[in-house]
């Protein structure tokens, strides 16, 4: 059975995020030879449409409208609906991001459809669409089958493999946006916060600080190492609660769940709630002065020592090969 699969692209600063290319690869698998389309929503974003073709979209729909410049649920739900009317997909994939997490369930409810969130693997088994997702914040994994002729899913960044970029050119179809009669919420203002440039959920390398950094100032060496490694900076809840950093940096069961290639935990004890958020990282390095800290149980490499000595030394060593 062939299925039509729509991938709603997730944009950050008007660029398509890698997770959307990864989702295109998943879409290809799930389509069983059917058509894969991408959808780009926003304002003055048409230029990014072609990149979706290079990663496997057969067709790319673009809805470009000032009302879509800022994310608002009613506007985005209506826009995706309009694209769905044109393309008539059986599967719709989003990123498991601030927008995807918000739009997908609204559409799933409207369509009385099943949805699987935070997917890390997709497969077709005897024509059934099967997703794998973490439960208990990564302490276990569930394989989930969705019934029905309309299926929604949100894809976790960094988990489906990135398709090869090809020279393919997709047909770009512009859909004119019918503005919904009522926008029930309005964004008055967006306060951008100056957190570091690299996005935590997509980062290949993350350097995290815990209560062991001892102050906001103590995060400096962490940022120094992150800069050299082109890494994002994360934190334990201990560090957030102590006010050393912002909650948006928290990793763990009640923070972000991350799966980078390399995770470096500095001054983090490794409480089970923290481990839940990072223990599926490919390689884990722990730097902690307490040799008994539980974080060493999940670490591939451990250094027992004072982070204020080890982290700067590591930064210098990394510079030798990376800068």
């Amino acid at each position: 059975m062939k299925r039509k699969v729509l991938v709603v692209a997730d944009l950050r600063a008007d660029q398509v995020r890698n997770v959307s290319y990864e989702a295109l690869g998943g879409a290809k698998t799930l389509s069983g030879g059917g058509e894969v389309a991408g959808l780009v929503l926003g304002h003055e974003i048409s230029s990014v449409a072609s990149s979706l073709g290079a990663y496997g979209a057969d067709r790319v729909f673009v809805i470009d409208h000032p009302e879509l410049a800022q994310y608002v649920p009613d506007a985005y739900v209506a826009a995706v609906e309009q694209a769905m009317k044109v393309f008539e997909p059986q599967v719709v994939l989003f990123a498991h991001s601030a927008i995807g997490r918000d739009v997908a369930p609204a559409l799933a409810a409207k369509h009385k459809a099943g949805q699987v969130s935070d997917v890390i693997h997709v497969e077709l088994v005897d024509e059934d669409v099967i997703f794998t997702r973490p439960i208990y914040a990564g302490k276990a994994f569930a394989k989930v089958k969705v019934a029905g002729d309309m299926i929604f899913a949100t894809i976790r960044p960094n988990n489906l493999s990135m398709p090869e970029q090809a020279n393919a050119v997709a047909e770009v179809v512009s859909i004119s946006y019918e503005v919904p009669t009522k926008m029930r919420t309005k964004v008055r203002e967006v306060l951008k916060k100056a957190s570091s440039g690299v996005d935590l959920s997509e980062a290949k390398v993350i350097v995290s600080g815990g209560r062991g950094v001892k102050s906001a100032e103590g995060f400096k060496p962490i940022y120094g190492l992150a800069e050299v490694l082109d890494a994002a900076v994360g934190a334990s809840r201990g560090a957030c609660d102590a006010g050393y950093c912002d909650y948006s940096m928290q990793i763990g069961q009640t923070g972000k769940v991350v799966t980078p290639d390399l995770y470096i935990a500095c001054g983090i004890s490794g409480a089970i709630q923290h481990l839940a958020g990072m223990s599926n990282s490919k390689v884990i390095v722990a730097i902690n002065k307490d040799p008994e800290a539980p974080v060493f149980k999940v670490a591939d490499y451990g250094i027992v020592g004072d982070l204020f000595e080890v982290v700067p030394a590591l930064t210098e060593e990394a510079k030798k090969i990376l800068v």
């Binding site: 439960i135 208990y136 008055r188 967006v190 250094i303 030394a313 990394a318 990376l322």
Partner: protein, 255 residues
Amino acid sequence: MNIIVCIKQTFDTEAKITLENGVVKEDGVQFILNPYDEYAVEEALKIREEQGGEVTVVTIGPVRVEEAIRTALALGADEAIHIEEEAAFGDEYTIAEVLASAIKQKPFDLILAGNQAVDDGSGQVAVRLAQLLNIPHISTITKLEISGANVVAQRDAEGDIEIVEATLPVLVTAQQGLNEPRYPSLIGIRKASKKPITKLTLGDLLLSSDAISSKATILEVNLPAAKGAGRVLEGDTATRVAELVRELRQTSKVL
């Protein structure tokens, strides 16, 4: 102000997950009120304290979830609705349909929920519920102000903060940082035992179990592959960081 809070009882975040016959074992696990729902309950209580009204908590689940209901009542919620019928324990589609039918039977101005539960972590139910009730929603909020019918919330959108406006009735989901949940007081705990818990069946809600059966089914659950013991590097700092960088580059190939 009629405030409804959707709550879920979840495994304690300390809980170790083990499997028995392919399903997650519940024996010996401590259950708690989902931490994000604690923020939702706290916010509801704060609003009621300022503006008057009633706080009703709604939940779906087996008998054991009464403990979470009692916690919410001990914190200060006025009453509870509990749907205990097994046919209601489905996927996010099922849960949202059942909650919507239960909530439709009551007048409400504001609905609060946690932005996700720490067990399934799918974060779908509240958004689905808003859709089914045909009211707007604001997700992952870290601040809420209500004056008259006007709602202003701060929404955490991956670290950016959006200031969002809406008019009641509205549904909001709580993000960490929204408030500091209180602890139940002794008086609160005593009072909780006398507060009403209304048990509803699918029949009461005019729902047939067929119409709400799950769309998503769990086929199997697996635990992550156990990690082999790692290596604690030895030597002075310079030796260890040099070895670490070499290993990360040559053996693990992550640099």
